[in-house]
């Protein structure tokens, strides 16, 4: 079960999305009403049906899924999500970077699964803008961990210029 609240654009909000096909659960033949996010395989098989519903549709990617597989479909999607079955599996960070910087995804990019507040900084900086934390986690408390580092060294998706390109433009360091 996914929690019913998400962190979106720095606030806790009710989640309008239904995720199907997560874990062992099969994708139901009759899709529920409202916005739904389906796994990559279901999107590829049932794309015509999903588009015909005339409701927002999203795709969620597993760690091993290659985002290039939806690169040409992005215009039809209202959400792309990346599943973190275990928080220590970091493939999803590269998935996000590629979606944002190579394939041009500008819509909502959601991290869900075994996600905790201590990953929010990295997730934000690789381009995620909404977070569905593991169910036992308190999203309100997690807001305190959104930005632990004011000016990180590297560029990120949220701010591409690395610090070394700013040290000379923001005036004296001290």
């Amino acid at each position: 079960m996914l929690p019913d609240r998400v962190i979106r654009h720095g606030r806790v909000e009710p989640d309008l999305w239904k995720f199907v096909g997560v874990g062992e659960e099969p994708v139901p033949a009759a899709l529920p009403p409202g916005p739904i996010a389906v796994p990559l395989a279901a999107w590829k098989e049932r794309r015509a049906d999903l588009v015909a519903r005339r409701e927002p549709v999203g795709v969620w990617l597993a760690p091993a899924d290659d985002p290039v597989e939806i690169a040409d479909d992005l215009a039809e999607l209202s959400l792309v999500a990346v599943h973190f079955p275990k928080f220590a599996d970091g493939r999803g960070y590269s998935t996000a970077v590629l979606l944002r910087t190579r394939y041009g995804w500008r819509g909502e990019l959601r991290a869900f699964g075994d996600v905790g507040r201590d990953q929010l900084d990295e997730l934000t900086r690789t381009g995620f803008d909404s977070f569905s934390l593991a169910p036992h986690r308190d999203p309100e408390a997690a807001l305190a961990s959104l930005k632990p580092f004011k000016r990180p060294y590297q560029g990120g998706v949220d701010d591409p210029a690395p610090l070394f390109r700013k040290r000379f433009t923001t005036g004296a360091a001290r």
């Binding site: 928080f87 960070y93 990295e122 632990p148 000016r151």
Partner: protein, 558 residues
């Protein structure tokens, strides 16, 4: 050396606050053991056999006297009065308490130090040549590049949860002193025919249970693209490295399974896709800014031959012997680099007490511009000593217990902490090192044997670099008992090679005999001026093996 500005300092301070909060949440039961473990590991904190172990980063092995004094005072206040210098140029405390670690980190931050990414499946401390900036064979100074890499890899958001740990070494001299070919990435700085600086990139080397010599995947990456190229390698690894088996998760396994050339093509394709206009292309201004931190100290203009030094060499045989082994050439006339040995018999290799750290800090201030280095051979180095001061440095080193004249010799043993401390170890390493040092305590004999690297690891993780020891010793566990497997013929440097195992493993008590028989074989068979390792490569392991296993039966495991 690199001095923090307000940006650098803020990042380290913010990290202390973040870890303080994580520790608080763990102690309050808000984080489980499984959740806290990778968070604390990213700050170098292990839970060990007796207590937590905290690994403090010493970026590319460079330390200022005031930093070493702080390390000494932390050892006194929070530990048992000593620390252990590791083979990755870091310092480990073996007895801190978990609750005090945030405070230790706060104290480290006051001297521009931290424990960031000294463990965990992320990019670890960048290592380089311990003679960087002073080596006569240096092509360019590697330290600005190592610092730029340090900053890039610190809290890199995409690469903080890699399949496995990731070690990068930078070498910039003609001789490799970094074990470059045995790193996840080895960066060799060089100049092309046009005099432009670039990087030969080696990938997929490593020790551990599958030792592999790295492969060159690019002969010349322009220096401005150091970060973009490393980013491309890490993206390929992060996406395709194995995550199903911890023993197959290092990049070397990915490079091996794809093959070095297909791997290189993957990297190239990725690199081409984003690098042309990447903001991570290093600017001239940034290289100049960082390089300004590593300008040469105020060397005096001195004759290269110092009469006082020459006289001392003639007067004292002991000093001469020390100078032969522990004093190294310097690119500036009249100066030398000095190794302070942490390999005194009876002391665990790499260990230093708080008092010794303070003594070294004083010596560095008095004789070497207030800076020193940690070598991957677990010694300390004063890089800028006037030749006329060498005798005084020797006297001070002798008084403090660092003058063992054994650099490059058999008793300069590299050893991990082993089963006495480490919960991963299969067997003890320190008592084996000590028993061998005691057997070879005759200095004339030791010098006659000549250059010999003897490396000991307490388990397959090979923190003691046994694969590249001329003699390598590996602790193994057989049915709950500690045994030692011996290999010979390994070496580091430009012609790095992995040793070959000579046969069944031995009991601890027999290890000095085993080493002695290897040495006797060498002394009988060597050509003039031939090192032990060269004799092994010329003859193969057979005569050594025969001698060790013949004659008096040594107890060995089947």
């Amino acid at each position: 050396m690199y001095k923090y500005d307000a940006y650098d300092q803020a990042l380290v301070d913010e990290r202390v606050a973040q870890f303080r909060d994580q520790t608080r949440r763990y102690l309050a039961g808000e984080l489980t053991d499984d959740e806290f473990r990778p968070l604390r590991l990213r700050n170098g904190l292990y839970i060990q056999r007796h207590a937590p172990m905290l690994r403090v980063a010493i970026p590319y092995g460079l330390l200022a006297s005031r930093q070493l004094r702080k390390l000494a005072s932390i050892a006194r206040e929070f530990d048992r009065g000593y620390g252990h210098f590791s083979t990755r140029q870091n310092l480990q405390y073996n007895w801190p308490k978990l609750e005090t670690v945030p405070e230790i980190l706060a104290q480290l931050a006051t001297v521009e130090m931290h424990a960031i990414q000294t463990s965990g499946n992320c990019v670890r401390n960048i290592t380089t040549d311990h003679f960087a900036g002073v080596a006569p064979d240096e092509i360019v100074d590697p330290r600005p590049f190592a610092e730029i890499l340090r900053q890039w890899s610190t809290f890199h958001p995409e690469f903080n949860w890699l399949p496995r740990k990731f070690k990068i070494a930078v070498n910039a001299a003609t001789e490799d002193r970094t074990a470059l070919l045995l790193h996840d990435i080895g960066l060799q700085l060089l100049k092309n025919d046009a005099g432009e600086v670039g990087i030969r990139v080696v990938v997929g080397g490593g020790m551990g249970r599958t030792p592999i010599i790295g492969h060159v995947i690019n002969e010349f990456v322009p220096w401005r693209h150091m970060l973009t190229y490393v980013e491309a390698i890490l993206r390929v690894y992060n996406r395709y490295g194995r995550r199903d088996n911890i023993y197959k998760a290092r990049i070397k396994i990915l490079v091996k399974s794809l093959g070095p050339e297909p791997f290189a093509r993957e990297v190239d394709e990725e690199w081409t896709a984003f690098s042309q206009d990447s903001p991570s292309i290093i600017t001239d201004e940034e290289l100049a800014r960082v390089s300004a931190h590593f300008v040469a100290p105020a060397y005096q203009k001195l004759p290269d031959v110092d009469p006082h030094h020459v006289q001392s060499l003639a007067d004292s045989r002991a000093f001469k012997r020390w100078a032969e082994r522990n004093v190294h050439p310097h690119r500036v006339p009249g100066y030398a680099a000095v190794t302070l040995s942490l390999k005194k018999t009876g002391v665990p290799p790499g260990d230093a007490t708080a008092e010794q750290m303070e003594q070294v800090a004083d010596m560095a201030e008095r004789y070497s511009f207030g800076e020193l280095r940690v070598s991957h051979e677990q010694n300390l180095i004063l890089a800028d000593v006037r030749k006329r001061d060498l005798f005084a440095v020797w006297l001070a080193a002798k008084a403090a217990g660092f003058a063992t004249p054994n650099v490059g010799l058999l008793t300069n043993i590299i050893s991990c902490p082993g089963g006495d401390f480490c919960s991963l170890a299969n067997a003890k390493s320190i008592p084996i090192a000590e028993a061998i040092q005691r057997r070879f305590d005759d200095l004339d004999y030791l010098h006659d044997i000549g250059e010999l690297d003897l490396n000991i690891s307490g388990c397959m993780n090979s923190c003691g670099h046994h694969h590249v020891g001329h003699i390598g010793i590996l602790g193994v566990d057989k049915n709950g008992a500690e045994w030692y497997q011996v290999s010979i013929g390994g070496r580091q440097g430009n012609h790095a090679a992995l040793g070959d195992v000579i046969g069944p493993s031995f009991a601890a008590a027999d290890m000095p005999d085993v080493v002695e028989r290897l040495i006797e074989t060498y002394l009988d068979q060597r050509h003039e001026d031939e090192l032990f390792v060269d004799t092994v490569h010329r003859l193969g392991i057979a005569p050594f093996k025969q001698r060790v296993y013949a004659g008096k039966e040594l107890a060995h495991a089947a």
